[in-house]
Symmetry: C2
Subunit: 138 residues, 2 copies
DNA sequence: GCAATAAATGCACTTCTGTTGCATCAAAAT
DNA sequence: ATTTTGATGCAACAGAAGTGCATTTATTGC
């Protein structure tokens, strides 16, 4: 628990009880989580607080947002080396259409794409959809 | 106009007045459009009709949905050779953060990605964000 | 042409996610 | 201890997506 506190403090985020809980929850889950997931996990939680907590976490580079094509924004903890506050860490994401879970494939970077003249890419989002690890083995 | 009628009939969609108008609108615009765009373009239009029209168009392979990361679904006419009803036509999309427009880069296919063991990809979505053609020239 | 049937449209309403304003509470600084 | 700042909770709103049902329009069989 003390570790989480330190992590938050290092990122200039005050380690309040709720924030520690949220961080812990996300660290335990290995998949990307939606705001609603966290809301359901904690009986005594307010959507606004969670929303703003995640926003702060994102601004301070603790989590990154994932748009996996389901109409709900997901969040995942950044890896130790990730510096997506400065420049996008362009790894890809995988969304399983069976279990509906989204995971970061941090090892898989988005390949470079040659664009037509005049187009300047600043950011990229690549989501693969299909059957994940867990589901395909069953 | 007769051409549009034929196109719709070929795809097994009854060419009603509204449907022809929507098709025409999408053909003239070269960018992907949101339901709201169409709604604003026609004073006398009902969102539900547009919604269901686009749904039918999509099912019949006339348009394809685009998730460009803005929280609104966009639609674009399929190219003549596109058969995304059967298998995804995996071209990429570009979203301009300046003019806020989304275009299909139909010539640019999504490169093959090697996934970890157990993962089976069935579909992919790649959106590049940045400054488009038009905006970068100004 | 006319009745029967099927498809398309329009209205009202609901749900879900994301978001903001404001009051309150807790913590940090002076 | 008081002031100031930041965090939290409630209420309410906005936008997009989606559903149910009644009505209109088109198509089919007779």
């Amino acid at each position: 628990m003390k570790e989480i506190e330190k992590t938050l403090e290092n990122k200039n985020v005050r380690p309040t009880a709720m924030r520690i809980l949220i961080y812990k929850y996300m660290a335990e889950k290995e998949i990307a989580v939606a705001l609603t997931d966290i809301e359901n996990a904690f009986a005594k939680s307010d959507r606004t607080t969670l929303y703003r907590t995640l926003k702060t976490f994102e601004e301070k580079g603790i989590v990154h947002q994932i748009d996996d094509g389901t109409s709900t924004t997901k969040y995942a903890l950044c890896e130790p080396g990730c510096n997506c506050e400065i420049e996008q860490d362009l790894h890809l994401h995988f969304h399983c259409s069976n279990c509906n879970e989204t995971v970061c494939l941090t090892e898989h970077k988005i390949p470079h794409i040659n664009l037509p003249d005049g187009y300047v890419a600043e950011d990229a989002n690549l989501v693969l959809k299909g059957i994940c690890d867990k589901c395909s083995r069953q």
